[in-house]
Symmetry: C2
Subunit: 494 residues, 2 copies
């Protein structure tokens, strides 16, 4: 059937979708979410069908196409195209198979990941895949296959060096900016650490957001390679690199139900490490009520899985269970966190010691893996000698930034101190409230917005003493954040 | 936040969806598939958010709205509306709960069904519900709750009479038009049988499509009530009646994976029976390789479930396992099936005897339930006496139709005989090929299109003897159907 293209000027946000008028659809026996092949000259693309019940947007004889199809086939309005019925992608059968509780083969998982990366699956079909992996939990074997498939269908960074060090902290803990301390220490010790980080989704800042206060973070993979070969380390945003791209599409579909399928968490992390060819990896698993990992049993199971998968991928993997019950460091929000990091690297007395201890522990673990003796002491020496700070400046410059004093980092001009209503001891700090108030104050988009904590769990506090300060860049958001802070229970004092 | 409405002139096909520009979305910390409340005067509607990454269709300050939202809030282009973040519907938590393998309560299932009926869930969220019920199979208890919830959130037909007879045939068998024979027999015997039927989705004709050859089938529920109170029976299209409306929305999401969750099949059928207040129900379960129910074990389990649920809903339910291995009757396609039915009711020698025997068996089962003695004989008497035919004419007239002779039903003018290539015995007929060829020939939209079978399984056949005729109304589709028939293996002769 020949149809005339109509550019409906909307993006589907991923999947290749075209809209057929209901009369044309009846002729071809097409239903919503069926597939058609669209032919333009020699190019053919298979897309998902939507059906227009009225003639307003897509009249009979027209084919409404979303942006993604326009781009893929290089279509113009009123182009004549040929359409015919297409089979469903093979991966539909495999998703059904997994939903039926059966195990998938490498070939089948490859096909699913290929179809995800190439936008061949609708959001509903992808949701079935996520649901299938969530309820019929993938075996370690399948998770390894998924990891490999994710790496295979994306870009890979190959430095041609060994060892390649990497680290990952599972999210959800405000202020947990270990990367910005660990990367310069490891690089200063002479090891390659090509680190990719994420931006915030629901927290006050992702590592990429914080690094962006000091330098650029968006680079093509060729430039990332150049930076790492020069300085041995980098801290760049993973989102622009097309490493394991299936992962982001899966995460988008998990959001509505806040599902976190364990096999996908594992595959997602390991695929991103595998795609930068890392050989020695330390993984930080914060355990706590408000963390992704709620308790020690869950954490130990995860640790075991990480180690099994690492072994099978021929990587050295160490998993550290850490305290996820309260924020790490004092600053929460990009600029406040960047200031903490610079203080720490410059050995300023105002540096957050909890963050320092955690970073040293993780560095020591890495050093142990690559065979450095007296690992903890060695990491501390690199820090104390100023070599980590120099390395950080080198990395910042390689990423188009300038050396800046911690004091010169711009913090939001509106600020408000929250005081303790009673004397006692800090029994707990609510991670979710901390993140929420910092976000409402403007973080991470307003770099200077956030929260600065003066107390941590177990600290003594007097009535009227400062617990934390809220910073904001705009008056409007400042007012709203103050209101929320007044009604929230951020600190528990006993 | 105040935004100006932009009618984007597209229907979402159900869910209430609005599109926010990415900059406005960042300000409100909104992500794809989050919810917002849209306020217009005193009316407030909660909708699902989509985000426009470019400014082309939805610039900053505008709110792109799909048809469903326009209608629900009576919006006009450029209206100013107030938007703010809304909580996710409660049912999201319950869907997650089911996905986690836990049992749902009546309250929770009610909430899910309410949200489905009121378009509060996105297609992805609905897919998670279907996946959850499919993998973590619902208990009988939950299925009963789902049935009740589906009935509660839809219209109900209450005739104020007892008993109310009903029947259902599980689909997938070409030509299985028992309803058009059973309804007039039962009504002629004096029992109320307010039958709703479906249109074809993937077959050559649904009962509603076939009845439409003889009479109207689309009525409001008030008119359906009037017809049944007058003639005791009706054969109307269920799709226009808003009986258990959640069901259709669930079925739409099952399509991409061709999932058929047993609990949903059970709830769907029982809800539609319950919503017309039926008290005595016979269910026809065709068993066969190409049927919905593949084997006897599956069929017996289904039978048990139907009976359990019937008991709990205080209904008499009988389940008959029938032969689903080949088509029933000779005509496949609306007009050809309607002709078969009229021949059968008029006792014409050309009537299909396999369909007649099956209908009599089902009527006998109904008579047994309501306490009629010599049930099979009684049903046959009603048929032979012409009372069933008279009743059918009465129903046709009540549904705005006219009495018509079987010979006057218009069959497609293009026809092609398919002959046997060898002599032998019919070992099998491929249901799927039969449906497919009939659909390609134009059924069900072209009422006169379809297939007429001359042979059934076990019949002897000579080389060159007619196996079936393809009928079509248009030359184009006729040619295509002929081509497909030549390459398909419709009859297996041994």
């Amino acid at each position: 059937m020949k149809l005339k293209v109509k550019d409906i000027d909307i993006s589907s946000g991923g999947p290749l979708v075209a809209v057929v008028n209901h009369e044309d659809a009846a002729m071809l026996d097409l239903h919503v979410m069926d597939r058609i092949k669209i032919g333009k000259g020699k190019k053919i693309e298979t897309v998902v069908v939507d059906i227009a019940e009225s003639d307003k947007v897509v009249p009979k004889g027209r084919l409404g196409v979303f942006e993604e199809v326009i781009n893929s086939l290089k279509l113009k309005n009123n182009d004549k195209v040929d359409i015919r019925i297409a089979r469903k992608p093979l991966s539909i059968d495999y998703i059904k198979k997994k939903l039926d509780g059966l195990k998938l083969s490498q070939k089948e998982i490859n096909q699913i990941v290929w179809d995800i990366v190439h936008n061949k699956l609708s959001a509903v079909e992808l949701a079935y895949f996520v649901a299938a992996c969530y309820t019929n939990v993938m075996s370690t074997e399948e998770t390894i296959m998924l990891t490999k498939a994710m790496v295979k269908h994306g870009e890979v960074l190959n430095l041609g060096k060994r060892p390649i060090v990497d680290k990952h902290s599972i999210g959800g803990i405000p202020g947990n900016r270990t990367t910005l301390v660990i990367v310069p220490i490891i690089a200063a010790a002479g090891y390659f650490i090509p680190k990719t980080s994420s931006r915030s989704i629901t927290s006050a800042a992702g590592t990429a957001d914080t690094m962006e206060v000091l330098a650029d973070v968006t680079f093509p993979i060729s430039k990332m390679r150049e930076i790492v070969l020069k300085t041995r380390g980098c801290i760049v945003w993973g989102g622009s690199l097309n490493l394991a791209p299936a992962d982001d599409k899966i995460i988008a579909v998990e959001r509505p139900l806040e599902i976190d399928a364990e096999s996908q968490l594992l595959a997602s992390i390991m695929a991103k490490k595998h795609s930068v060819s890392s050989t020695h990896i330390v993984i930080d698993v914060p355990v706590g009520r408000d963390s992704k990992v709620k308790n020690k049993v869950e954490a130990l199971r995860l640790k075991k899985e990480f180690e099994k998968i690492g072994k099978r991928l021929k990587k050295h993997v160490r998993v550290l269970l850490t305290d996820g019950s309260q924020p790490i460091g004092n600053g929460i929000g990009p600029a406040l966190e960047a200031r903490d990091v610079l203080w720490l690297l410059k050995r300023d007395p105002r540096r957050p010691l909890d963050l320092e201890r955690k970073c040293l522990k993780m560095c020591a673990e890495i050093f142990n893996m690559v065979g450095v003796k007296n690992s903890y002491k060695r990491a501390l020496e690199i820090l104390d000698s100023g070599r980590a700070y120099s390395k950080m400046v080198e990395i910042i410059k390689a990423q188009n930034g300038k050396e800046i004093a911690a004091e010169d980092i711009k913090i939001g001009k509106f600020h408000f101190d929250v005081l303790s209503a009673r004397s006692g001891r800090v029994a707990g700090i609510d991670n979710l409230s901390v993140s929420r108030i910092a976000r409402i104050a403007g973080a991470p988009d307003d770099k200077g917005a956030g929260i600065y904590l003066y107390k941590h769990v177990s600290d003594k506090v007097k009535r009227g003493e400062k617990l934390f300060t809220i910073y904001a860049e705009s008056r409007h958001e400042f007012g709203y954040a103050k209101d929320v802070a007044k009604s929230a229970r951020v600190f528990m004092i006993s």
